[in-house]
């Protein structure tokens, strides 16, 4: 991508706006001319603006079309590209110019253009998903040609350190994903152990007990947690929470490294609190008022109403909130990269340093070796596992949450 291409894009934009302005003015002038000299009642199908819009859209479409064709099929033919864009766009402008007449339904064509463009834009959403799925599957298949799928999913040893030179002996690393998946699970479990109860109780407290004023103050404060970049949480875990946990456990006589599953998990839990609390809040508020009133009328206290009436009927939504939180915890990267360590220990001990799927993807890809090595491809296989797990969790959760609100995970 050269800087000249940016100028080309700019040129297409200018041509499009120029075409719009020129043909609109032509149409305006002919409206005026007909009004003065022509038959008394000439009705134009479309407002002059639409003749302009139609020109602008067609010029832009032809221009971008040629631009894309040239970049994909004949790269580096800048002169030819510029000439053909100039020719093509002026041809498009001229075609619309010739058509300017009272009977020409410019608006209909313009609207068709607009709708098609919007359709293409929403098609990009599907294209992105396809892009993800195919790139992950394609690279993973190449990985599984080297390392059998079964060995990958059941192997107990993860040490992807392959040799630098291909002629070295013992150049194949071990690619057993179990320790990595186990580490991911431990950290996720700690995070949900923190965020689940806390987030749920916050939602309950704010919707049932807090005064309107307290709610107005506390809710935005908790939302701040959701807006903090994960790299900041990672630094917090590394610099503050890790050493704090180490000091605490030193006093208790347990040796814990600064980088442990516990510090990463706890900090991740804090990060996920707002996700659970805001989703649960919506779910709890969606429970019909009559259920609540009925329980109060029978003499139940607020906590009894909550535990025995509202919670059961909100349970599917709360489960969905938890599933989304789990999906977020599994896919979270920066906190674990900075605070959980990289050693693939096959352990269930939260005080040890463990590794996760995302940590390994980063470790495998930031070394920067040639692209085709098994090491790099392994990152895509891990990515595929990650995508598959989160996809399943998301779809189950989104189906449920959709009943309560139009879900926004931003």
């Amino acid at each position: 991508m050269e800087i000249i291409q940016l100028y080309t894009l700019l040129l297409i934009g200018v041509l499009s706006i120029g075409g719009f302005a020129y043909n609109r003015n032509v149409a305006r002038a002919s409206v005026r001319a007909l009004r003065q000299s022509g038959p008394a009642e000439t009705r134009w199908h479309s407002h002059p603006n639409y003749h302009g819009y139609l020109t602008g859209w067609s010029v832009a479409l032809v221009g971008f079309g040629l631009f894309i064709i040239f970049n994909l099929v004949f790269p580096n033919q800048v002169a030819l590209q510029t000439v053909s864009i100039l020719l093509g766009t002026s041809l498009a402008g001229l075609l619309v110019f010739k058509k300017i007449a009272p009977a020409f339904p410019a608006r209909i064509y313009t609207e068709r253009f607009i709708k098609t463009t919007l359709l293409a834009l929403s098609g990009l959403a599907i294209l992105t998903t396809f892009g993800i799925v195919f790139s992950l599957i394609f690279e993973s298949l190449r990985f599984f040609a080297d390392v059998p799928l079964f060995d990958f999913l059941t192997g107990l040893k993860w040490s992807p350190q392959t040799a630098v030179r291909s002629d070295q002996i013992g150049s194949s690393g071990a690619f057993g994903a179990v320790p990595v998946l186990l580490g991911t699970f431990i950290i996720m479990a700690i995070a949900i152990g923190v965020a689940g109860p806390v987030g749920l109780m916050i939602a309950i407290y704010l919707s049932e007990y807090a005064s309107r004023r307290m709610r107005a103050i506390v809710k935005p404060i908790i939302e701040i947690l959701a807006g903090i970049p994960t790299v900041v949480f990672g630094f917090f875990a590394l610099l503050t929470v890790g050493p704090a946990i180490r000091n605490l456990t030193d006093a208790l006589g347990i040796a814990v490294p600064t980088q442990s599953a516990l510090s990463a998990g706890v900090v991740m839990g804090v990060m996920i609190i707002p996700l659970i609390s805001s989703l649960s809040d919506d779910v709890i508020n969606a429970v019909p008022r009559s259920l609540r009133d009925g329980a109060y009328a029978l003499g139940a206290t607020k906590s009894e109403t909550m535990k025995q009436v509202i919670f059961p009927s909100a349970l599917p939504g709360i489960m969905a909130a938890f599933l989304l939180a789990i999906s977020r915890a599994i896919g979270e990267t920066m906190i674990v990269v900075m605070a959980a360590g990289r050693a693939a220990n096959l352990t269930g001990n939260p005080f040890e340093s463990v590794t996760t799927v995302t940590v390994q993807i980063v470790a495998l890809l930031t070394g920067g070796p040639e692209f085709d090595s098994t090491k790099t491809l392994a990152a895509f296989a891990l990515g595929l596992v990650l995508f598959a797990i989160t996809l399943i969790l998301n779809i189950i959760a989104l189906r449920t949450v959709r009943k309560y609100r139009e879900v926004s995970l931003a």
Binding site: I3, R107, E111, K115, L118, L119, L121, S122, L124, A125, I126, T129, I132, S135, L136, F138, E139, L200, M201, I202, I204, Y205, Y209, I221, I222, L225, G227, I228, V231, V232, F233, L239, T240, V270, P274, T301, K302, S303, E304, M306, L324, S327, R328, T333, M334, V337, M338, F380, G383, L386, F387, T390, L391, N394, I395, L398, R399, R402, L409, A410
Partner: protein, 429 residues
């Protein structure tokens, strides 16, 4: 006497325990709220405590004799020869001039280590290239102290620990106190942190290159994601036929918003870099990857905004003879604009804080030059934070926390802007 069953001892006891349970439950709720607020407070407090001191740095003022012999002869002076002149000896002479009784080479090295070597030589080089006439004269220069000295003067290195366990010797501390007593050391606002690119020396490292990279990435992501997101949302809400395909696209977009961001990095690596052949580490690819990351959230925000517009507006336009497209674009979209803008700003804040996908496309390079175009190697603010956080020295963690504070300040500003826009544009309806 007939005591009501509700007044019996058993009932009273039962009621009491129920109320106790109620109070306990309420207490748990309050504790959860306090836990969240306390965590946020602890986070911010630790950042301020670590990072606030990085906004000031210690500078030492020296008088430098610009000896002619350090430079090329006058007839050979050009920018190139001026750049490679012997600035190190000038700086050494300048600091030794302050302490004439220092004789041995070892002591001279220790003395020289008090100031930032690259900081001082770069300073002189810049001044000489700008104005070669100062050669041969005596100039006053104010240069950063070395990071160890800076940390000591800020009180982060304990003078009372045994000499062997600190990186700064007793002799150096004596010299420093002497310099300070003579008024040669001053604490100033650390402009280096804001205006310098990255560096190997903490006292010379700044966020400028990363900030410029971040600005480029956010602008590219905004230009790409806004039209895609808003267009897709309008199509799905207004023009798409209600069928299974539409439902499928909808689930798809909602799922994309929840896909781990690192997956988008893998997509960018496989598609943009390996298939389309873009370079690694450039803001253009970063912007494109994060545009894909951001557009689902823009779609969701836009659809919520569109749905909040009263249908009466559209019905009114339709009944006055507007076409469907006209009603949508002339009535509905302008009404939804505050919501759309708020959603896009919030999603750009998301883009600004995103790190993991950028690691995947190689934006972790050590960048010592401020990028000028979108195809120059660059890094981004959160990635810079990540890179700095890997160095355990106090001088680095201080700067990491300071960079985080700057990033958080920008994010706060963006969110405040979003809230302000929403209230301001909302009023004009």
């Amino acid at each position: 006497m007939n005591v009501s069953q509700h007044m019996s001892d058993k009932a009273r006891k039962h009621l009491k325990s129920r109320y106790a349970k109620e109070r306990r439950f309420r207490f748990y709720g309050l504790s959860a709220v306090l836990f969240a607020i306390a965590s946020l407070g602890w986070l911010l407090l630790s950042l301020f405590a670590t990072g606030l001191t990085a906004f000031q740095e210690h500078y030492v003022t020296l008088e430098a004799e610009m000896t002619v012999s350090a430079f090329a002869p006058p007839d050979q002076r050009s920018v190139e020869t001026l750049r490679i002149a012997d600035y190190k000896s000038i700086v050494e002479n300048a600091i030794e001039a302050k302490f004439p009784d220092v004789r041995t080479a070892g002591e001279k090295d220790l003395l020289f280590a008090l100031i930032s070597e690259s900081g001082a030589t770069d300073h002189l080089r810049k001044r000489v290239v700008r104005n070669p006439d100062i050669i041969g004269s005596k100039i006053v220069m104010t240069v950063p102290t070395s990071d160890q000295v800076d940390q000591l003067l800020k009180g982060h290195i304990d003078r009372n620990v045994p000499e062997a366990r600190r990186q700064i010797s007793d002799q150096q501390i004596l010299w420093l106190d002497d310099l300070r007593a003579r008024g040669a050391i001053k604490k100033k606002f650390n402009s280096i942190l804001f205006f310098n690119p990255d560096s190997r020396d903490p006292e010379l490292a700044g966020i400028a290159s990363a900030a410029v990279g971040s600005v480029m990435i956010v602008i590219i992501a905004f230009i790409l994601a806004l039209p895609i997101g808003v267009g897709a949302a309008i199509y799905l809400d207004e023009f798409a036929p209600r069928n299974r395909l539409r439902d499928w696209v909808e689930i798809n977009i909602n799922n994309l918003a929840a896909v781990p961001s690192i997956i988008f990095g893998l997509l960018g690596l496989a598609v943009f870099i390996n298939i389309f052949g873009f370079q690694r580490s450039i803001p253009l690819v970063g912007g494109m990857v994060l545009a894909l990351r951001a557009f689902p959230t823009i779609v969701i925000a836009t659809r919520a905004a569109l749905r909040s517009v009263s249908p009466a507006m559209v019905d009114g336009a339709l009944s006055l003879g507007a076409s469907h497209v006209q009603a949508v674009f002339q009535q509905k979209v302008p009404q939804a604009m505050p919501g759309i803008l708020t959603g896009s700003i919030v999603s750009m804040a998301l883009v600004l804080g995103e790190t993991a996908p950028l690691l995947m496309i190689g934006m972790v390079a050590f960048v010592t030059e401020i990028p000028t175009t979108v195809t120059d190697p660059a890094t981004a603010l959160p990635v810079q934070i990540f890179l700095w956080s890997e160095s355990p020295e106090r001088a680095w963690s201080e700067r990491t926390a300071a960079a985080i504070l700057i990033l958080l300040a920008i994010l706060m500003t963006m969110n405040a802007l979003a809230i302000w826009l929403r209230s301001r544009l909302g009023k004009r309806r």
